[in-house]
Amino acid sequence: MSTIALKPTSDFKPVTHPDVKAKKQAAELEEWFYTDIVKDHFFNPRNIFRTQKEIDDYQPDGIGMVGSPACGDMMKMWIKVDKATDMITECKWQTFGCGSAIASTSMLSVMLTENGGMKTDQALQLKPQDIVKRLVDLPQRKFHCSVLGDKALRAAINDHFRKSGQDQRVVVEGAKVIDKILKITDKDIEEAVLEGAVTFEDVQKKTKIGIQDKSCIPEVEQLIRFYREKFFGGDK
């Protein structure tokens, strides 16, 4: 008899009401309707290919692709960079994802190419919040959508650096091992926070971090605070 382990949505630990978890759940009660700007970019996405032929004929300087259909989000980005000015002059994209993922990528493509374009160095400085700011707002649980667009852009710029012989400019997203026994990295913690983990217990449940290597717990807690601050503006 095969049995399937199910993932419970709560951990049934005793809670003092209202606690952090309850606060997280309250976020689910927020109205899901998007701002007019998000809707505009969703219904009228900018900088997209109109036909398959346009994709086939396009000659980009860099292509970046992140995510996978299995996790529900996937983005592909094509950029053209002016050699003389080092400016991104064109940006095309495709997104598999929800409404805010599509709107975020569309907005990012506008930010990169408006006013004649953006320098690659400046583009690498872009943070997910910058996209969210331009969209006026995104529901909190949709913040990760803007993160993916940002990652696709970095991948495209790195691709351009490699193709144009500027390997020294390639920015490697270094993953640092935090849990030395299970080899869990800061990227894993980042992922867990983006998926909604708030407390150390949440992150441990998702990653198994700190179960064997207890020495890393203070660092993990610090990283959780860092990533929550980075993506959600911290716990107010």
Binding site: M1, S2, T3, I4, A5, L6, K7, P8, T9, S10, D11, F12, E28, W32, F42, F43, P45, I48, F49, M65, S68, P69, A70, C71, G72, D73, M74, M75, K76, Q94, T95, F96, G97, C98, G99, A101, I102, R141, E195
Partner: protein, 422 residues
């Protein structure tokens, strides 16, 4: 905004005006507490007794076996936790299935974490059905409760409850069925089904929200969740919500009087919608069973696009549908039901549920079939994903030919079919 086409009846329905008319009187005129020893209270008690008798008649049981609660979720919690706690001496094993509602899954999970329960989650077949054979294999001497849903809220598949309940009876395990999607639609005669406990609620059958029923067969050992004044045969304390209970009973009665004609009507529309989508939108398939499904449920997977984006786009045309159950549509994880059918993750993000109701018209269905293809094409054009259907189908349906037949059987015109009740 264009006129809304509401196709989310599995989440909730409007209250039938006839039901509202019955309820109206009990808010202001007949406001009594059925427990009061005076004439006002007595009239409220009569209303409560009438409501209970009406429900009991439809379920073919005695009124004392009907417990009114605050929701389907509360009924389910009472059934699972109550039976487990009262039967600990016999055993600690519970059997349920992977496609149950969260009310069942979370109750079982809670008992596992805190009260030492051991729970077996039965897998389902590619349509979402639990097999009596697998159930029998899973039963242990210490199995105290089996809880299997009558009809699935997401994909609409109907389980053969009578067969499953017979297996439970043979092994002397109590059987509960979550019939929240079946009330008012399928036969809920508890004797014919041969069950010990059953949950239904009001918000799916044109009745008010905030009311559930738990049928508990006489003789079943069970503990209440809520203690107090001893209302509902000591099973659910708290002053009875008379207006809502009276409305619920009326709604259930009306639904059962009208279900045969309404089911026939909805099945025609349902099959038109399924055939319409599958034949006009490429790379789509039906989730759940083609015929053994709720008359109002259509659940289709659209490859290469994400469900929420599609939902948002069709909503702009006034079409209100859902990505899965209303409870999980806001979370990012794919539906546990769709995954339990054996769909790979890649194919589980683009399923849309359309659930029809009394006011659904053929014109509404035609509108959906008309607006969907260009919207899907547009979203696919924005998407970098291009899933090969051949890679997906062997996992969904055992062989590709099977899938062809499956699709064909839905595309060809067919006569309306009576809902199969176990």
């Amino acid at each position: 905004m264009t006129k809304e086409i509401y196709l989310d009846h599995a989440a909730t329905t409007h209250v039938d005006p006839r039901v509202k008319a019955v309820m109206d009187k009990y808010w202001t005129e007949e406001f009594g507490n059925p427990g009061s020893f005076n004439s006002v209270g007595l009239r409220a008690l009569r209303a409560l007794n009438n409501a209970r008798a009406t429900v009991a008649k439809i379920m073919n049981c005695i009124p004392e076996e009907i417990i009114f609660t605050g929701s389907g979720t509360e009924s389910i919690n009472t059934a699972i936790k109550g039976v487990y706690r009262a039967n600990k001496a016999k055993g600690k094993h519970i059997i349920t299935s992977t496609t149950e509602h969260h009310a069942v899954l979370e109750s079982c999970e809670y008992l596992t974490k805190h009260e030492g329960a051991e729970v077996t989650y039965l897998p389902v077949d590619k349509y979402g059905r639990v097999s009596p054979e697998q159930l029998e294999q899973a039963i242990r001497p210490d199995t105290v409760l089996i809880s299997i849903m009558y009809a699935n809220n997401e994909v609409g598949t109907i389980n053969r409850i009578a067969e499953l309940a017979a297996v439970a009876k043979k092994h002397r395990a109590l059987f509960h069925t979550d019939a929240c999607q079946a009330g008012g639609v399928l036969d809920i005669d508890v004797k014919k089904l041969g069950i010990d406990l059953m949950t239904i609620n009001g918000s799916k059958l044109y009745g008010p929200k905030g009311v559930g029923v738990l049928y508990v067969r006489r003789g079943v050992q069970i503990h209440p969740l809520i203690h107090g004044g001893g209302q509902e045969f000591r099973m659910r304390s708290g002053t009875e919500n008379v207006p809502v209970l009276a409305g619920f009973a009326t709604a259930l009665e009306l639904a059962h009087q009208e279900r045969e004609a309404e089911n026939k009507r909805e099945i025609v529309l349902r099959d038109k919608l399924i055939a319409g989508i599958l034949s006009t939108v490429p790379k789509t398939f039906l989730n759940g069973h083609p015929t053994e499904r709720l008359p109002n449920n259509v659940n289709i997977s659209f490859m290469d696009i994400e469900g929420e984006a599609l939902l948002l786009m069709i909503n702009e045309h006034g079409i209100c549908a859902s990505t899965g159950s209303a409870c999980t549509s806001k979370s990012l994880d794919p539906s546990h039901v769709i995954l339990a059918l054996g769909l790979p993750y890649e194919a589980s993000h683009g399923s849309i549920r359309f659930t029809l109701g009394k006011y659904t018209t053929e014109a509404g269905i035609d509108k959906v079939i008309e607006v969907l293809p260009p919207i899907v094409q547009r979203l696919r054009h924005l998407s970098p994903v291009n899933i090969n259907m051949e890679d997906i189908f062997p996992q969904v349906l055992m062989n590709p030919k099977d899938s062809q037949d499956h699709r064909q059987s839905l595309i060809v015109e067919k006569k309306p079919q009576e809902v199969k009740t176990p």
